[in-house]
Symmetry: C2
Subunit: 415 residues, 2 copies
């Protein structure tokens, strides 16, 4: 396959997609939901082939790979929910009368073409395709190879139903071989944003090898700092939840920073407070400040909160970090000075998630500095443009003083 | 100089700067304004040395290089204006009660460390330093070498006054040799955003050679499309203004796209409508779709608006493009489907500018897709983080069904 040519076609059609009305995009989503139901037996059959081919895979991976009535019903509910949501595009963020008959608006619009690389979960293909249609973005999809047959069946149904409902022919494309990833990450004129999901090494590889903006996170070294003014009865369950509730999550805590005044008490109470043994690893070198994704935790002590903040900013991954304290002043310093997408006071780092923030579906979590940052849902898939509607005005008249700007806000906003 | 070590020190102090109150940052700005006035004779003397060293430079460049009472008074007025502006950081974009005593807020915050590379205009050093202080960002400055003496004098005054007023020691740093640029563009752990200004080749070089996000534009190939339903009496002055009002601006029009129905009329009226001769170059090859920054314009005809839009999206620089038409339907299609930071109807492309949008000072214009896009002022120098303030909540309780989310919006917002 010539994926560069594919990317060009998707890019060319992305402008048409960007100009479609809210109704047209919602109708396409409804048509896709209907077509998925109508073609479910073929999709399930394709999935059975993937499950047979992958019969040696570990149980949890097979569970994610499975696409059955239950998963179908989940993705259909997801699409229904998306249709009900407000259109994220066409929102006026700012409207300003620069002068008579000279109106500036700042309006949300699609980003363009989004390349999404995701794990072997066929439901993710439906979810991210639907999010892109709702937000007016064209999409290039690359799913995990274990789900190849299911992905192809789902993609064929989504593509046909979308085109039938009026989307441009190349509103979506699929990449079916791993080598294609290296082609598309070079397509910086065709792809506006890459969202890689998967292992840290894989995400880092994409970040290091593409000039396209990347939304995602290559690591989740999250911290819990137990302050000298902590309530230890709150600290212990939070540490256990943040470490063990889902040990392989990016928002699981990896490093425990203890103020020296409370370190002994925490370390005495932690074992025995949970059914699961957490292996406590005293920090000896920089290598200990790593992401375990296991029932292990690095522990270090500090003599004040500033040292804790400095450590987190230096060694963390700017993902999510929590302070446990009853001192509101200390908490606010932590929330202001820790430079992470999520900064928490007296709660588990595991709350960092689009669903738990009330965003609905999530396409990923970004640890980049610029927006969108943190969990990315529908509103993270849009950008904006400035429109000016005038009546023949020229800058020369303002430069000469013949005309002057009024700057009267109709809808006040930022830039 | 070891600029990597400098960048590390600036990074370390950026967290302290981010935590300072609005008043503290405004007081620092006031102190800097006062110090600039108190030390103006030394600054003017430094500027005279730069002017002497650069006596062979062309007049317009010497004009930008000059820093005198008049320029000082301009930058002081700029600082006063900034002090009056609302604080761009600490704004709550979203406040949501996830559950009782579990409050999610999305709050604007500084980006961190910004590296700004700017032309030989000493007033730009003061302006960008002040914008960074107001927005809580630490800054690494590299100015044009022709202004070296003036930049050093201004920087020394700003740095001393800022520290005296309570800013952390390394809130700002200056790079004084060109080789330093190649060091700092590799500092992706220390610098969060680069804003290069200067020639297209220079900006493209930075974009190609740094993994740090870059805000800017490497070209300004702006278009005017004269639709079949255009009022030619509006079209002619707009074309002349867009081409000639400031011919070396990035938002000057370079390509004129004429609908075939009006092409003859426009081409007949254009010569003679202006005192300045515009050389009309019929498009023959892709090389003609270039940025002249001169009194030259490529002209092509199309048979419909879709061809005009497709051409602009393919050959343009996503900067600013205008349609001239009396047909509102055609105008709205153009505004929706042209994928540029600025899309205009019946006005000159020269309006693309932070001051003309009413943003006050501008640090640059971004042609990137993701926000901030278009002219970047103070609000473009901030990002956001999510804060959760809780009371010991753990995710396990929500996963088990013991607790359920409420999702009650106190301040509704996007992601």
């Amino acid at each position: 396959m010539d994926y560069i040519e594919t990317a060009r076609q998707v890019k060319a059609d992305s402008y048409t997609l960007a100009g479609l009305s809210t109704d047209r995009r919602n109708e396409a989503l409804a048509a896709i939901a209907e077509a998925l139901t109508a073609n479910k037996e073929e999709i399930f059959a394709a999935n059975r082939r993937d499950l047979e081919n992958g019969s040696d895979l570990p149980g949890p991976i097979l569970g994610r790979l499975r696409f059955d009535e239950h998963k179908l019903s989940d993705v259909l509910a997801g699409i229904s929910g998306l249709i009900e949501l407000d259109d994220p595009i066409g929102k006026t963020l700012l409207e300003r009368e620069l002068d008579d008959d000279l109106i500036l608006t700042q309006v949300t619009c699609p980003i363009g073409v989004i390349g999404i690389i995701f794990e072997s979960r066929p439901d993710a293909l439906v979810q991210v395709s639907a999010l892109c249609i709702k937000s007016g973005n064209a999409v290039i999809l690359k799913g995990g190879s274990e789900a190849k047959e299911t992905n192809r069946a789902l993609f064929d149904v989504i593509r046909a139903a979308g085109i039938e409902a009026g989307l441009p022919e190349n509103f979506a494309a699929i990449i079916e071989d791993r080598a294609g990833i290296n082609e598309i990450i070079k397509c910086r004129d065709e792809i506006d944003l890459l969202i890689p999901r998967g292992s840290n090494q894989f995400v880092q590889y994409i970040m290091d090898n593409s000039d396209i903006p990347v939304m995602g996170h290559a690591g989740g070294i999250c911290h819990i700092y137990v302050d000298k003014a902590a309530d230890i009865r709150k600290a212990i369950p939070i540490i256990i939840d943040a470490k063990t509730q889902y040990v392989s999550a990016c928002n699981a805590a990896e490093t425990l920073i203890l103020h020296e005044d409370v370190a002994d008490e925490v370390l005495a109470e932690l074992p025995g407070a949970s059914d699961i043994d957490i292996e406590i690893i005293p920090a000896k070198s920089d290598d200990d400040f790593c992401e375990y994704l296991d029932y292990k935790m690095t522990v270090m002590t500090v003599s004040d909160i500033d040292d804790a903040i400095a450590h987190i900013n230096k060694y963390g991954s700017h993902h999510t970090d929590a302070i446990i304290t009853e001192d509101p002043g200390a908490a606010e310093i932590f929330l202001d000075e820790v430079d992470s997408a999520g900064v928490y006071w007296n709660v588990s780092t595991r709350f960092a998630d689009g669903f738990r923030y009330g965003f609905g579906a999530e396409v990923g979590i970004s640890t980049g500095k610029l927006p969108p940052r943190g969990p990315i849902g529908l509103d993270g898939l849009v950008t904006y443009k400035y429109k000016i509607r005038g009546n023949g005005q020229i800058v020369g008249d303002y430069a000469s003083g013949k005309s002057t700007f009024k700057f009267k806000d109709i809808i006040p906003g930022g830039e």
